[in-house]
């Protein structure tokens, strides 16, 4: 297995499939009465979170605990970080405490790459700036496979603020590896210039959600921050919702089997209408459940193989 999980591009098709298959095996645990495995007993996993993210942190914490690891939560607020300690000094501190793995969420793109240079333990990127969020892409892929039976050949529309989205970057990378066909849909201001050239030949883009929906097996909506309209990316929240929001009328354009995904937290009424979020097509709750299994698989595969 790989040493760190910094980017979805670290996973080739075999490794990505191994993570998904391992997650499926571990998911069976959740249905048992005792949800714990002894696999990572005596190992220390640090959740190093420089951004508020209750859902991702709790998901990693649950994953590590179900594998019997010792979990230390280190949040930037209320720690030495708020006193101005550098990432490198924090890394050396964690190293000295014997962290076997560090799960890092950071507002700066590339922070996990820097961390991986400074510590001996394994590093898992839990979201870095506008770069990547590889375990989100893995849990999304897992959810697609669970609901639709395969990933290769699926037509996936990713809709919204691609420019600022680490979820989109990781999904584009992983879905390409696994053979899905991705179309990015957004107003032109929220699509990086030249993204097809930058991210891969099979990638397509569109400014027309209505045209893309009938040809989609999966539509994944990205969170759009209202602050973006102050930076002139779009004129108003209402106009964004009108052009790119998924409401029930639009949802009817999807093929019968198609699913609707959202990484959360949702802006109901902005990129996704409440009725759509709560519909049978929506996988939002499944994604949360699958997140724990996938993160267990990642920690297991990164840490489980080597002897203490």
């Amino acid at each position: 297995m790989i040493r760190h999980l910094l980017s979805a591009a670290d996973l080739d098709v075999d490794r990505a499939t191994l993570v998904l298959d391992t997650a499926a095996e571990l998911a069976n645990l959740a249905s048992q009465e005792v949800k714990k495995l002894p696999t990572l007993r005596g190992r220390t996993v640090v959740n190093l979170f420089y951004e508020d993210s209750t859902r991702t942190r709790i998901s990693f914490e649950a994953a590590a605990k179900r594998l019997s690891a010792d979990v230390i939560n280190f949040s930037a607020r209320g720690s030495s970080v708020s006193k101005g300690e550098s990432l490198k000094d924090t890394a050396l501190t964690l190293q000295a405490m014997g962290a076997d793995a560090v799960v890092i969420r950071h507002p700066a793109s590339g922070a996990p790459h820097r961390l991986a240079e400074w510590i001996d333990g394994r590093v898992v990127n839990a979201g870095d700036g506008t770069h990547e969020h590889p375990t989100q892409a893995l849990l999304d892929a897992y959810t697609m496979r669970e609901r639709l039976g395969r990933i290769a050949g699926l037509r996936v529309a990713i809709v919204g603020d691609v420019l600022h989205s680490r979820v989109a970057r990781s999904n584009v990378s992983l879905l390409a590896t696994l053979g899905a066909r991705v179309t990015l849909v957004a107003p032109p201001t929220l699509l990086p210039l030249g993204i097809e050239r930058a991210l891969g030949a099979r990638l397509r883009t569109s400014f027309d959600l209505d045209a893309v929906l009938p040809e989609s097996d999966v539509v994944m909506l990205l969170r759009v921050q209202r602050e973006r309209m102050n930076e002139a990316f779009f004129p108003s929240a209402r106009e964004y919702a009108r052009c790119y929001g998924l409401d029930t009328a639009r949802m009817r354009r999807l093929p019968q089997h198609a699913i609707v995904m959202h990484p959360g937290p949702m802006n109901r009424g902005m990129e996704i209408a409440p009725d759509v979020a709560d519909s049978a097509r929506s996988t939002v709750v499944d994604q949360v459940t699958n997140g724990v299994s996938v993160r267990m698989a990642v920690l297991y595969l990164l840490l489980g193989g080597s002897a203490k």
């Binding site: 550098s86 700066a108 590339g110 790459h113 820097r114 870095d128 210039l193 993204i195």
Partner: protein, 437 residues
């Protein structure tokens, strides 16, 4: 500068044996009283220090129009003395120090302080550049004439690090410095297009998820300033041109007769944005590393003369300012000790030794108004020269550089050409590849 730079003690005489001026036939050079006294074969002089320059190329002392020496204010990153030593080791005899110090060099007092620190170090002529606007805040003109009239005799003005964004203020600055044959050196960046930018806007930035610094942010300002300079008939110098589009605008302006000059840095001539992969901020610089196409355009423009000079934009930063997240790191790279080697690497075939002397000594001295520098080696000329071993190759080791900082992007690279000796006004500042003080 020349008056203020008069050495404190009488020069020792030096006899340089067998050097090849601009790579031509080997000859001897006798240096006496700070000037070149004799040139010819088989020279001798009783009591003169002998410098064996067999196989070495003699160049006029190099002139760098764009360095950051950090003093006063950030002596933890560089001092005038350590930066001067790095310059001498790089073959330079004059450097122009950018004013973004703390306090900003926007008054006669601060530019004279920098001048005197340079004289104290005595390793290179340090010519202060004055800020265009008070505190480099871009709001009102600094007292430019006071700086011009000071002991530092400032002729180049720049808010480098920041762009003089207000077009009316830029127009006024261009006009005002005509009174003392000054030049405005612009850091061309439309800041409203680069808010939060971290690297060149392009494929690599998309992959790395780093906000992009688009080429047009540089090009719109170069175009605007070229038009302003044309309108008022003033001299404009464009700092660190980094884009193919910028080169094209300068080419067109020159063809129309606009009094515009331009510089390129060694790093923009050698490195591209793919270096950002891995997020090591040693490759973070402003303007950012661009693409292969930009690099090719810059090299062609340097050969052609559309880019007049190479300037290093030597920008020392402390370890803390570079061993961190990319977004938190300060932009800038060391350049003085590696500049000549990189120019040899990328442009020797196109320029030859004479072209290198033009781009790195004569032209920068001319643009910066350093009348004492940039002269070919001739009897009676000031003895500013550097001796280069053209066959040597050396590997850059960040820990053995003379600069106080370590942020070289070339660590581990093997480069051609080694500075063996540098003479400033007839005094050796570097001998046998080592600084004399």
């Amino acid at each position: 500068m020349s008056a203020a730079g008069v050495p404190r003690k009488r020069n020792h005489d030096f006899l340089i044996k067998g050097a090849r001026p601009l790579g031509r036939e080997s000859t001897d050079l006798l240096i006496r009283d700070g000037v070149i006294a004799e040139i010819g074969s088989g020279l001798s002089s009783a009591g003169a220090g002998i410098v064996d320059a067999d196989g070495l190329v003699a160049l006029p002392g190099l002139v760098d129009m764009h360095v950051h020496l950090r003093e006063p204010g950030r002596e933890d990153a560089e001092t005038v003395e350590t930066g001067s030593r790095a310059a001498a080791l790089g073959g330079f005899t004059a450097v122009c120090a950018m004013p973004n110090t703390s306090p900003v060099a926007d008054s006669a007092g601060v530019v004279e302080q920098v001048l005197h620190l340079g004289l104290q170090a005595g390793l290179v002529d340090v010519q202060p550049i004055g800020a265009v606007t008070v505190g480099q805040a871009g709001e009102r003109l600094a007292e430019l004439a006071a700086m011009a009239d000071s002991a530092a005799r400032v002729r180049v003005f720049s808010d480098d690090g920041y762009c003089v964004a207000d077009p009316r203020l830029m127009r006024r600055a261009l006009e005002y410095v005509k009174a003392f044959d000054g030049v405005i050196a612009q850091h061309a960046e439309e800041a409203r297009l680069t808010a939060g930018a971290q690297m060149h806007e392009g494929d690599v930035a998309v992959r790395l998820g780093l906000p992009g610094w688009p080429s047009v942010a540089e090009e719109t300002i170069i175009a605007r300033d070229a038009l302003l300079a044309e309108h008022v008939g003033s001299r404009l110098h464009v700092c660190h041109v980094s884009t193919a589009g910028g080169v094209e605008i300068i080419r067109q302006a020159k063809a129309r007769g606009v009094r515009i000059t331009a510089e390129a840095t060694p790093h923009h001539l050698l490195l591209t944005d793919v270096r950002a992969t891995g997020y090591d901020p040693v490759f973070k610089v402003s303007p950012p590393l661009r693409t292969d196409a930009d690099l090719a355009a810059l090299r062609a423009a340097l050969a052609e003369g559309v880019i007049d000079i190479v300037a290093t934009d030597h920008a020392p930063h402390t370890v803390e300012d570079k061993e961190c997240e990319w977004a938190q790191a300060r932009p800038g790279m060391l350049g003085l000790e590696t500049a000549l080697s990189i120019v040899l690497e990328v442009a020797f075939d196109a320029l030859g030794w004479d072209g290198i002397a033009e781009r790195m000594s004569r032209a920068p001295a001319r643009i910066a108004g350093l009348s004492d520098h940039g002269h070919d080696l001739a009897v009676g000329a000031p003895a500013h020269l550097t001796l280069v071993d053209p066959t040597a190759r050396w590997t850059v080791d960040s820990t053995s550089l003379a600069s106080k900082s370590r942020n070289t992007p070339y660590a581990g690279m093997t480069l051609p050409g080694r500075v063996v000796a540098t003479f400033l006004r007839g005094e050796p500042t570097v001998l046998d590849g080592k600084a004399t003080r």
